[in-house]
Amino acid sequence: MIGVGKVKQYGNVLDKPLNKGKQEVSLSAFAFLFSELVQYNQTQVDNIGELERRLEDAGYAVGARVLELLCHRDKGNRRETRLLGILSFVHSTVWKVLFGKVADSLEKGTEHEDEYMISEKELLVNKFISIPKDMGTFNCGAFVAGIVRGVLDGAGFPAVVTAHFVPMEGQQRPRTTILIKFAEEVLQREARLG
């Protein structure tokens, strides 16, 4: 066999490093899995608010794990402690690992000091989903909102995170905006740090 001499022999299987493997999963497989997640949760609830909450909870668990993993992998076991730092961490690092690209935009809310928005023209989870008319403003991006909440909460920035459709001029499809409203204590701490 070619190159057989170069392969290091490990006596114990546990000593063998894990191979890196593919970094991506099939979009179809994910879409079907996510579809099942939504359908399952739909059978468990009797109103749309409850469905949104359940999807958010499912995302929260993902967010908490993603934070742990990325802090270890990319940041040498350190995490962001400043507001803008953690926001750009979510907007770029987390988004890149989860969706393969940086989020389209990160903006500060104009009306309130404590609000920030991450916008996506076409959120990956919504790629194949059409919301029926009778479900009103429901957005499956609640799952992604949950992920963001999980990351922020784990990093010590408690916040309320929601997903909304925002119609865009000249576009057939609305974009999805993840609205982050930080808790008061976060802003107070931020002011103290200067």
Binding site: I129, S130, R173
Partner: protein, 200 residues
Amino acid sequence: MPRPVRISFRALNRLVWTAFVLLLSNQMSIWMLICVLIIYCQLFSFSVHDNVGSGKVFGMAAIYSLYIINKSGGLIYYKDYGSAGRMDTNDSLRVASLWHSMHAISQQLSPVSGCLGIELLQADTFDLHCFQSLTGTKFFVVCEPGAQHMENLLKFVYELYTDYVLKNPFYEMEMPIRCELFDINLTQAVQKDRVVFLGR
């Protein structure tokens, strides 16, 4: 000017004759012949408006209408692309279920073993191209006689169906399709350039 014409199915005529011949050679039961005759009569009992050329006005490929029927013959999607000759809901439902039975019977009548049913029906005023997926969902398009690349279009519609309908958690299997994304992408696909592009 659109004028009402009767569907004159040369192919269907041939089907009925084949049925007679098969009956004479004792290869088919009398009941199947009756089925064929009933369908034959029903197809002739309603008329379809001739809308040759109306599609061209809108820059569309000469497609008149598109149907998707589920595995039990129910119409789950219908879209009209001609300005004239629009069929009402009842007629489109009837065409869908008739085509379903025709398709099933043609499979049995075919002299070739392992036949998957009619793929193309050529009539004087239109062509009907049909594509059946492995799960039994049928896609068929009624278009101008001699329109090209319809197989590709149907395969593409199938692809859109698997993406924007089957991956949508709010779609119930075998039920009528009401998905915004499916509509948007289908409209794009049916535009003429798109069909030519698909046929490369």
